[in-house]
């Protein structure tokens, strides 16, 4: 079973109090998280509390709002899945092979982080619209990628890619090649080596990447808005619904929808974290 032990990256260190400064650093952490995360979020909740329960329910379950949840969460899920597959591939190539221009390719991966999302949205639309470089060849075949839910998925794939690559890459770098060689020596096929040796060691990182890409996609506004077409019931994302409510000066309604999104996302992230913990255990690391 030594294979499995090593693949989880060695035994995990238990928290020890030998280090000095625990109280100071914990105090700082709590203060910092409160300032940056908890206070803004509680302001959100307070604004929502100005609504009665009926008003809250009406605000978050309108037919257009429900349709937007389906689109936002569905498209984010699909985009994150696509990113897991292709992000893993990109990370694999960047870690395992040497080729000319590798540094440049490596840097390219981060571009979606840095690019203003509105610019991304506008460029994608320019490419994929019926008269765009790519769109003009697809439209005659009846494939429409811009101004419908497909466009939403594409924009979300674009912004989510670096999250998967950058979480999987370091884990792949640390994975020991000797294990794969040992597996081969012991008669494993390439497929077995991948599914039994490599995959278990990177699965937690993949899940993290998935979670981050998904969370980022759920909140994305700037890039999607230009490519979605924004038709009610069809291609309206939830952040657009929130903006729409703000335009009516319905602050409370906007925050109500935001709270629902937040709760959904939080639950999903919790599930993913639990999955990760389970995965780690199954990976055989001594706990």
């Amino acid at each position: 079973m030594s294979v499995a032990v090593l693949s989880a990256g060695g035994p995990r260190r238990k928290p020890r109090r030998v280090l000095p400064g625990f109280n100071l650093t914990l105090g700082y952490t709590v203060l910092y998280l409160s300032l940056i995360v908890l206070i803004p979020l509680s302001a959100l909740l307070f604004k929502t509390f100005t609504l009665s329960w009926e008003q809250f329910w009406a605000a978050v379950t309108g037919p257009r709002v429900l349709a937007s949840y389906r689109l936002t969460f569905g498209a984010s899920f699909i985009a994150a899945l696509v990113n897991v597959v292709f992000g893993l591939l990109v990370a694999w190539v960047l870690v395992r092979y040497d080729f000319f221009g590798k540094k440049v390719v490596d840097a390219l991966v981060d571009l979606p982080f840095a690019l203003p999302t509105a610019v991304a949205g506008i460029s994608l639309t320019a490419l994929l619209a019926g008269n765009g470089w790519i769109g003009q060849y697809l439209e005659p075949h009846g494939i429409q990628l811009a101004f419908n839910p497909n466009g939403v998925v594409i924009a979300l794939i674009f912004i989510g890619l670096p999250f998967v690559v950058r979480t999987v890459q370091p884990v792949l770098e640390d994975a020991e090649k000797e294990l794969e060689e040992a597996a081969t020596c012991l008669g494993a096929t390439r497929w077995q080596t991948f599914t039994r040796v490599i995959f278990p060691s990177i699965a937690p990182a993949l899940l993290t990447g998935f979670a981050m890409a998904f969370a980022r996609a759920v909140g994305e506004y700037g890039s999607v808005i230009f490519i979605a077409g924004n038709m009610p019931m069809v291609s309206e994302i939830t952040p657009l619904i929130i903006i729409g409510k703000l335009e009516q000066y319905d602050y409370a309604g906007a925050t109500a929808v935001a709270v629902v999104m937040l709760v959904f996302s939080f639950i999903l992230l919790l599930i993913i974290n639990a999955l990760q913990a389970w995965q780690r255990k199954r990976g055989g690391a001594p706990v």
Partner: protein, 330 residues
Amino acid sequence: MKTFTRLALVAALSFTGLAAQAQTLLNASYDVAREFYKDYNAAFVAHYKKTTGKDVKIDQAHGGSSAQARAVNDGLDADVVTMNTTTDVDFLASTGVVAKDWQKRFPNSASPTTSTMLFLTRNGNPKNIKDWDDLIKPGVQVIVVNPKTGGNGRMAYLAAWGYAKKKWGTDAQAAEFIGKLYKNVPVLAKGGRDATTIFLQRNIGDVLVTFESEVVSVDREFGTGKVDAVHPSISIVAENPIAVVERTVAKKGTGELAKAYLDYLYSEEAQEIAAKHALRPRNAAVLKKYSATFKPIQLFTVNELFGSLAEAQKVHFNDGGQFDKIYTVK
């Protein structure tokens, strides 16, 4: 004694420093007014120097009209707001940031310029679009702004509704017309400029419904001859309201300057600058002078048909309103 002279010197220096520093004014305005106010500000600064001898510096903040209203409400220290939707100023009045009777503080319901909704079609008008009822023909694709996210879209919607109401008489018929019209809309743009981009750069749609002022900037930015402007038989008056932000001027002591700044919008010079930017001037003489741009069409006001824009907002655009019904009621 030495300290005293030094102090006096410092005081004198700081005083002259203050005097030399021009008073500044911040105008929070909507997106597409950028070019107009750039020209207007230059004219106003010259005028103010000439009449009072004082230097003044005008800063501009632009964004979506109601996003700007929210920013001012939340604390942006603008001295004046110049918007394209009266409900945005009404909102600021309701929170006490501008005067309750802001519409009475300046002439023409405190809107020195107006605009109206026109059509832009592809060059040569291949689908032969002449009036609002051509927009509901099968096979015609209409590009408009989402009334939920932009004042431009609300005006387009109300203009279409007003046409139908005046032609057929009842709200039910107007609702049916609006429903058919929005069935012909393949993409709802986020704002005015977004709509122009979809129509001209993405090449989607046969007709774009937008502000008259946008028609001029299309010619400027995309070159003449790509599109035709079509004047429908009847359209809506879209007011561009202005107001002094009482909260800021009380704090900064810029009340007089702010009033002078807004008053000058009604001068002949300013009205002429507005006309050059395709904003309809209130001044009749200037309007006549630019009649080539502002073709006379039958216009109705929001108040005439909908009571007020706030009322229209409630019935048509708020959640569960008439606009939502187009998409949610089958």
